[in-house]
Each structure stands twice: as structure tokens, then as C-alpha cells.
Amino acid sequence: MSTLQDKYSGVVSAAQTAGISNLQVQEQDGILYVSGQASNTAAKDAVWNALGAVDSTYSASDINIDVQVAGLSVGAVLTVATDESNLNIRQEPSTEAAVVGKAGKGDSVTLLEQTSDDWWKVKTNDGQEGYAYSRYLKA
């Protein structure tokens, strides 16, 4: 086991325990790449929590974690998980795009499409459709 794999063995075992699918652990150019798909936010969080145990400031440059919540079904109910503010619902998947609606912290929205890793198309309770930054959506 390499030094990097040893250093981050807790992250890898957390990913295994959380049932991350297509889990890949590769070392390249001095960075340990850990990637895979989580079936829900809790599984993804488990991996990141494990990183926190090694790197409490989440500033490490020698590990790259790309674990994305994937394979959610259309119509899945997601919870808005912002810190305190409202979540912007945008016309296009970019922060440059116009805000067409908002969803409050803790509100539920319905998933229409996992457009990309970072932007998901959702429908708010009042029927507004648009793109929300997936980091603030809990599945």
C-alpha cells in the first residue's frame, strides 16, 4: 500500500462501507483519486466525513474525492440543504443564469433531471422549474 493510500485508508474504507458503487481508487501525479457513485447524500457524506478525520480543514491537495449522488429517479423528493439562505432556482445550469425562483432551507423540491454533477433540474412546491446547485440538495 502506498503512503497516500495508507494516509487516506479511512476514506476508502468509509466509501466501501457506505456502498459507493464503481468505486475507483487511483494514484496519479501525487494525488489519490477516489471516485464513485453514491445512492444518496448520506453515503456521500460518510466519505467526506472520513476525509475530515484525516484532514480537518478540508484543504488537502493530495486527495481528490469525486463521489457523486447518481442514479436518482425522476420525481425523487429532495430537501434543500442551504446554510440559511434560500436556494436559487436558475434558468440555466450556471450561476450566471437568471434566477427564476427560490426554495427555502428545509423545503422539498422534486427532481426532474440530474443534468450534471453540479446542476440538477428541479421543480419547486409552487411549480417553478429550473436548475439548482446540487451541493445544496439532499437526496
Binding site: Q24, Q26, Q28, D29, G30, I31, Y33, S35, W48, L51, G52, S56, T57, Y58, S59, A60, S61, N64, I65, D66, Q68, S94, T95, E96, D117, D118, Y133, R135
Partner: protein
């Protein structure tokens, strides 16, 4: 005296002759020896026929497969080894991680999306490496890393002060 030397020469000749006849070792004996070699890999098997070993099954890597073939060839009486075994596709031999350029405008936009909610964070590309500075909480740092790591831009310097 001459007779003794002649006898000795004959003995040597016979013994050489005997060595050259070693291929007469029975298949059953060879099978036993070959099986002993192959038991080290439970996923492989060997069959000896007419002094030729037929190796089948799977190996974790090419090196262990080559090592076993060498061992089989070393058995007295094995004329050749027919390799019908395969090497399992190793997970470690996965394709290299595809990284994106930190200066790609599309990537830059995504980085801006990632740090939009953290106005104190500044993003620069220094020597081709994405470099983030500013002051953030540990929770914010985690959110930023979650989004930025997903972009896979190679080395990222998270140089901010984490409170």
C-alpha cells in the same frame, strides 16, 4: 588399467544416455509434479499429456503467470508448456484519471459556481494549478472541495485560512 578406463568411459556414456532418456518419465508422474506447482494458484489447473503441460485458468497478473510457466518448464520431463490461461483484468490497471485544464473557460465558470457563496475566496491559476485563497470555515472548505474536486483539474492548492 586400460580396461578400467574403458569401463568408466562406458559408464559415463551410459549415464549420459540415461539422461537423454529422461523424457520417458510417465505422464502420471509429471501430472503429480505439475499439479503440485499449480496448487499455489487455486484458479489455475494443469493437464499433462505426452509430456506436454497444458496450463489453464486465470492469474492475477502476468508476472505470476510467467513464474508458474517457468516452474512447469523446470520439471524434468516436461517438454513444453501450452499456455491457455488468462490474466484477470486488474482493477489497478484502470485507465488514467482524466483531468481538465484549470484555465479552460468552462472549468473556470464551474469553479466560480463552486465558490460563489464564499465571497472571501479568491481563485487564481498559478503555474497551471488552481489556487484558492481567502478565509473560510472548515464546513465551507468542505463544500468548496466537494465541488472543485468533482472538476478534476489536477492539483488544487487550497491555500486559504481555515477558521
Amino acid at each position: 588399467m586400460k580396461k578400467t578406463i574403458a569401463m568408466a568411459a562406458l559408464a559415463v556414456a551410459i549415464s549420459f544416455g540415461a539422461v537423454s532418456c529422461k523424457k520417458k518419465v510417465s505422464d502420471a508422474d509429471l501430472q503429480t509434479q505439475a499439479t503440485t506447482v499449480v496448487t499455489s494458484n487455486p484458479n489455475a489447473s494443469v493437464e499433462v499429456k505426452d509430456g506436454e503441460a497444458h496450463l489453464s485458468g486465470t492469474f492475477a497478473d502476468q508476472a505470476s503467470k510467467d513464474a508458474m510457466i517457468t516452474q512447469l518448464k523446470a520439471i524434468n520431463g516436461i517438454k513444453s508448456v501450452h499456455d491457455m490461461s488468462t490474466v484477470a483484468p486488474a482493477a489497478t490497471a484502470a485507465a488514467p484519471v482524466e483531468t481538465q485544464s484549470a484555465v479552460d473557460p468552462a472549468v473556470q465558470q464551474k469553479v466560480q459556481d463552486a465558490v460563489k457563496d464564499f465571497p472571501s475566496v479568491k481563485v487564481e491559476v498559478v503555474n497551471g494549478e488552481l489556487t484558492l485563497t481567502g478565509t473560510v470555515s472548515s464546513a465551507d472548505a468542505r463544500k468548496i472541495k466537494e465541488s472543485v474536486d468533482a472538476l478534476k483539474v489536477g492539483k488544487v492548492n487550497y491555500n486559504y485560512t481555515v477558521k
